[in-house]
């Protein structure tokens, strides 16, 4: 029984992590209109830089400065921001589906580099010996609850931040040039500069979230940062309702609980491969059905910003 509860705690924690990713994605894709299919790459940069800079043993790697965790997290975030800048400058020259493909390409390049630069990243072996914050405070299984609380506290924090951003003039500007770029430009807005800024901001945030993902999974290998991360985040956002406020959180919670439910029964020996595949089938079916019957998602943009105009008048 306690095993089931601990499993559910894990699922809810992972849902929280995806809720944060989906909210960041909502900022750049939902509001600023940049369909980014490369977020897994930025999470990878954040995660790898965090884990490499906080490593203390030089075993198999040439670089292990052993920084404290907070410094590693900041470094990871900055590195992801810089990566976003490098990706953004060429990618933002093209729009729509070309942007989408270019970002996907960059994410794959990052993943391939993480596999091939073995002397820094330990290749496909990756890292699995590292400490996590506040580990001394609670005993083994209690740590899962602590991580759950930590993740959902950050979910709340990011949600409040996003609500603030969404209603701010900046948020209106993003949605404005998403819908009509020439009008925004004619009003003297530097839309391209704002796009790049938003892309880099999202990159910094993806990098900052990465340590949570790493602490939850407890290993860092290239296989953690495949485009599956990107697609699951996108699915969560699309189910919840793109460009809405609560949508990303609702979508991530529903999606993760539905897909991970299949894993509950996974202990059944030879059925393991089948059940692991069922996860993908469920994920695919959910996405197809939502697109067909509720393409605007569960929550929607109109409701989220229904009071926006009134608030301005008041």
């Amino acid at each position: 029984m306690s095993g089931v509860i601990l499993f559910l705690v894990g699922v809810v924690t992972l849902a929280g992590i995806y809720a944060i990713l989906a909210m960041i994605l909502n900022l750049e894709a939902g509001w600023a209109g940049m369909w980014d299919l490369g977020l897994a790459g930025l999470v990878a940069v954040g995660g790898y830089v965090f884990i490499i800079t906080t490593q203390t043993t030089h075993e198999d790697v040439i670089f292990a400065p052993g920084w404290p965790m907070w410094a590693g997290a900041i470094a990871g975030s900055l590195a992801a921001g810089i990566a976003a800048l490098i990706i953004g400058i060429p990618s933002l020259r093209v729009r729509g589906e070309y942007f989408l493909i270019t970002t996907l390409a960059f994410a794959e390049v990052i993943r391939q580099l993480s596999i091939n630069l073995g002397t820094i990243t330990r290749g496909t072996v990756g890292f699995n010996q590292f400490s996590r914050p506040f580990e001394g405070l609670v005993s083994g299984s209690g740590y899962r609850w602590l991580l759950l609380a930590l993740v959902w506290a950050i979910v709340l924090l990011v949600y409040l931040l996003m609500r603030r951003l969404g209603h701010s003039p900046y948020g209106r500007l993003l949605r404005g040039f998403r819908d009509n770029d020439p009008v925004a430009r004619s009003l003297g807005k530097h839309t391209n500069r704002h796009r790049l800024q938003t892309f880099v901001l999202a990159g910094l945030m993806y990098g900052a979230v990465a340590p949570l993902y790493v602490w939850f999974i407890r290993t860092v290998t290239p296989s953690l940062f495949t485009s599956e991360v990107t697609f699951v985040t996108w699915t969560a956002l699309v189910i919840g309702g793109i460009a809405s406020l609560r949508g990303p959180v609702i979508g991530a919670a529903i999606l993760l609980i539905v897909t991970e439910a299949a894993a509950l029964a996974q202990g059944l020996g030879e059925m393991a491969v089948v059940l692991a595949s069922v996860r993908f089938i469920v994920l695919g079916l959910v996405l197809i059905l939502v697109m067909r019957f509720r393409p605007e998602g569960l929550a929607n943009e109109r409701d989220a910003f229904a009071n926006a105009s009134r608030r301005v008048e008041a």
Partner: protein, 286 residues
């Protein structure tokens, strides 16, 4: 020299896979991520026909092609037709959903193991500085013949003309009385069949496994964008170019960087010529 041969083989297969992808993009108006899974399906069906049914490789390839083509039409009717009016974003995500659905189903049916075609490559021909197997020549020849037939089909038959008309202006095509539905099914059949063929070829030169679709779709996307999505010949050239680039790069850097090279070429291409290598018109936004 040897790498040029490998590059040609890879490039021909890539060109076949990308042409189908690009046809869907042109006439249906969205990026079909599930195209990679149709390719995987082709590889597994081809393997099934050769290994279990013990068919001749050519017959098996043909059977896999037709079957994947029919599955493509079926998916178009059941999955894509209902969301056609919801715009390219909904269609794109439907195709991602379908890709996961197919990926899961393929793993349930065929398992997650890596398998090899039990087919030899035939005699090794010694042509001075290079070695070529009969199988490799056959792949390039089949690819060339298929592309030639496709070009004839698109330019010389009435259905082909309809497809090109629909691709360049769907509204106008409808107004002129072209049966848009029939055109759409024809495109789905041809495009999926080409994906199936490419899958069989990928399986023949390498191995067959369930992750095939995800790795292939990335390279297909790169080739499609590099070629400018629109023009069939542009996409063919881009496919060949990427294939050559990937295999020639193996001379100076480790082969594990193949995909990185493909995307490096793509990123370079976008920076130098954002409208695509061979696109006549500017890129339309999604």
């Amino acid at each position: 020299m040897q790498n040029i041969i490998f590059g040609l083989v890879t490039g021909s297969i890539l060109a076949i896979a990308t042409v189908g992808f690009s046809m869907i993009r042109q006439t249906e108006g969205f990026i079909n991520i599930a195209h990679g899974q149709l390719l995987t399906l082709g590889a597994f069906l081809g393997y099934f026909f050769v290994a279990t049914v013990e068919m001749n490789v050519f017959l098996a390839g043909l059977a896999a092609m037709v079957l994947v083509g029919l599955i493509g039409v079926l998916l178009a009717i059941v999955v894509f037709r209902p969301v056609a009016k919801s715009g390219p974003l909904a269609q794109l995500f439907t195709s991602i959903g379908l890709a996961y659905l197919l990926f899961g189903l393929i793993r349930v049916i065929f398992g997650a193991n890596v398998t090899f075609f039990p087919t030899g490559f035939g005699r090794r021909l010694d042509l001075g500085p290079v070695n070529v197997t009969v199988g490799e020549i056959l792949i390039v020849v089949v690819a060339a013949v298929v592309v030639g037939l496709l070009a004839l089909f698109l330019t010389q038959t009435r259905l082909g003309t309809w497809i090109r008309a629909t691709a360049s202006n769907p509204e106008l095509a409808r107004l002129r009385g072209i049966p848009v539905n029939r055109v759409s099914y024809a495109v789905w059949f041809v495009a999926s069949a080409l994906a199936g063929l490419a899958g069989v070829m990928v399986g023949l030169i390498g191995n067959v496994h369930s992750e095939l679709g995800w790795t292939q779709i990335l390279i297909i996307l790169a080739a499609a964008v590099l070629g400018g999505l629109g023009s069939i010949y542009g996409v063919l050239a881009a496919g060949l170019l990427l294939g050559l680039a990937m295999d020639l790069s193996a001379l100076i850097i480790p082969t594990s960087y193949r995909t990185v090279v493909a995307f490096g070429v793509l990123i370079l291409g976008l920076l130098l010529r954002p409208q695509g290598l061979f696109a006549a018109k500017g890129r339309r936004e999604a």
